[in-house]
Symmetry: C2
Subunit: 224 residues, 2 copies
């Protein structure tokens, strides 16, 4: 049986939420967002090893929250870096065995088991996988002085978890940072690899604004 890791990255400081509480710690139906996220992976497969990357300044708050909420899901805590790239790299460095790793945003608590399952299955078959969704609204490309309609059917939005073989994604992260990176797939592409797209789930939103919390709370009851 191949070893599976969930590398959950949360680096938010709370500025976009206009709150002093980092968004990963905000309570969603009584439980911090991040605990929902961790539990999604644990419930999907209790044998998955969970690595949580957080800014080291937030370690003590996190430990207090774990006590307060009697949160006992086993996880390893790793210090994040300056940008997401550094945080993921730190998390990967802490994994010394082979296997596959699902790199996931801490503030996506509504990832479906079916999404995780599709990403893992496709990775085992083809080497990597990222979950995507069709763009549901019209899109325009914005230039300096004008904008142009583009065909939305040619685009997909990207979710997480993004799943890779550990040695390969570690190797890609060794090649160094590029400020254009917005996800892990772009890092892997530096090795010349083709990225496999699988279907995500519509509920799997990233909580970045207050509105998203309202949405997430409503969807939590519906998620499978």
């Amino acid at each position: 049986m191949i070893k599976k890791f969930a590398l959950i990255v949360a680096g938010g400081s709370g500025t976009r939420m206009n709150t002093s509480v980092p968004k990963q710690f905000i309570e969603l139906d009584g439980l911090p967002v991040l605990m929902h996220t961790i539990n999604r992976f644990h419930a999907f497969d209790p044998s998955m090893e969970i690595v949580l990357v957080l800014p080291s300044l937030q370690f003590s708050v996190w430990n207090e929250l774990c006590q307060k909420h009697h949160f006992t899901t086993v996880h390893r805590l790793i210090a994040g870096g300056e940008v997401r790239f550094d945080s993921v790299k730190n998390g990967l460095s802490s994994i010394d065995s082979e296997g596959i790793v699902a790199i996931h945003d801490g503030v996506r608590p509504l990832v479906g088991h079916s999404t995780i399952g599709r990403c893992i299955a496709t990775t085992l078959e083809k080497g990597n996988a990222i979950p995507v969704m069709p763009v549901v609204e019209s899109l325009r490309k914005v230039g300096i002085d004008e904008s142009t309609a583009v065909d939305r059917s040619q685009f997909v939005t990207i979710q997480t978890p993004q799943v890779f073989f550990v040695p390969e994604i570690k190797k890609a992260y060794e090649l160094g940072y590029d400020p254009r990176y917005t996800d892990d797939a772009m890092v892997l592409e530096r090795l010349g690899k083709r990225i496999n797209l699988v279907e995500g789930n519509r509920e799997n939103i990233k909580i970045t604004h207050r509105t998203d919390l309202v949405i997430a709370s409503a969807l939590l009851k519906n998620i499978i």
Copy 2:
């Protein structure tokens, strides 16, 4: 005072919702989606003249729903056409005065008053306006055999209402149909006009899937 029209277009037959009820008639907190939408414009400005375009096959159901829900917001009912373009054109043909028209999707019941206000103000100043939102997730462009990351900051998603001067948008619609049209701004561009982008509101989602109904119900309580 310039005359203002809201042209609300609903043509859905319910197939994507896996329901026999067209999505515009599905109840959201006890009231059909479409009535919420109409009420948003009426509450924004009760002097706005409301034109509702529906498939003629749905007229009797709509009239029954209006009776059932004691829906008394004054509106004119116009028969839609085969595709959205025809429906909008039919609606525009029924407007014989000058003024400005806000063309809006019937299944966007969460449009903010601030969004409507910004679109109208910018139209009065610059000739037209459409509400847009930044893309919040990473984007990839999908080709036949591979996909490429694109810079999401160069793209915006498009909402409605799209607001125009009546004579100008009528003239654009006279130029005829193009299957690539996905919104009214693209029709106006045929006249060589530059489209003005204003900020929409995040809650202003288009209800196309079951998940959207859950989201809309949660947001309805928060909308301003």
